[in-house]
């Protein structure tokens, strides 16, 4: 069964460092999402791509977070500089179309020290 791939699974970094997460969606899925899940809470959408275009980044802290999906396939989420409050699970999801069911990857757990 096709899966959404994410790497790394775990990342430990120090405050003020830069970190990057990678996501490869299910083949053929045009829509890609990045969610942040703080411990004890549900996931919150950070950014949604349709192909290579951003369609919703209203909850993305743009002063330190950036996301790209240059060729409309895989995607990178970057944080620079990382802050203590960024410690969370970062989940990537994809869907076949803009309103289709979302399939989630295993996530990247970030710890900022």
């Amino acid at each position: 069964e096709a899966e959404v791939a994410q790497s790394p699974r775990y990342k430990i970094t120090e405050k003020s460092q830069a970190v990057a997460f990678w996501c490869d969606p299910i083949s053929g899925h045009a829509t890609l999402y990045w969610y942040r899940q703080i411990l004890g809470q549900g996931p919150e959408l950070l950014v949604q791509f349709q192909d290579e275009s951003v369609v919703d980044d209203s909850q993305l802290p743009k002063d330190r977070f950036s996301a790209e999906r240059l060729k409309g396939v895989d995607s990178t989420l970057k944080i620079q500089p990382a802050e203590l409050g960024d410690s969370a699970m970062y989940l990537c999801a994809s869907s076949l179309e803009r309103t289709g069911g979302q399939y989630f990857g295993a996530g990247t757990r970030l710890s900022v020290l």
């Binding site: 004890g40 979302q102 295993a106 996530g107």
Partner: protein
């Protein structure tokens, strides 16, 4: 604004007994509702969804959910719980654009931890 509420942080049930995980929603217009399950250190797995039609929705792993418009609820159920069902369960609703169109942004509840005792 769209929202869902999961009133129970944890639900405990004995193996073989029926289980219910509660979810209530607040939306403008017709709701698109979902249930996801999350195992430790794993991503979310889709269980089932309600968009329209029959109020009783059947999903993966023997789970089902009942949509109740008058009570604005979408409770997750299973007739006989398994120890392997122990996990974190999230209810979610699809957000709506201000003009009534659908985005694909999911708004999640805070999650309910299901613990099934052998």
């Amino acid at each position: 604004a769209q929202s869902v509420a999961q009133p129970e942080d944890q639900v405990n049930v004995a193996e073989g007994n029926p289980l219910t995980v509660k979810c209530t929603y607040s939306v403008s217009g017709n709701p698109y509702l979902f249930w996801y399950v999350q195992y430790p250190n794993r991503g979310l797995q889709f269980l089932l969804k309600y968009i329209t039609g029959d109020n009783l929705v059947k999903g993966s792993y023997g789970f089902e959910a009942e949509f109740n418009k008058s009570q604005t609820s979408f409770h997750l159920k299973k007739p006989s719980a398994l120890v392997s069902d122990s996990a974190l369960y999230f209810c979610a609703v699809r957000d709506m654009l201000a003009k009534g169109g659908a985005t694909n942004k999911l708004i999640f509840g805070t999650g309910t931890l299901l613990a099934v005792q052998p």
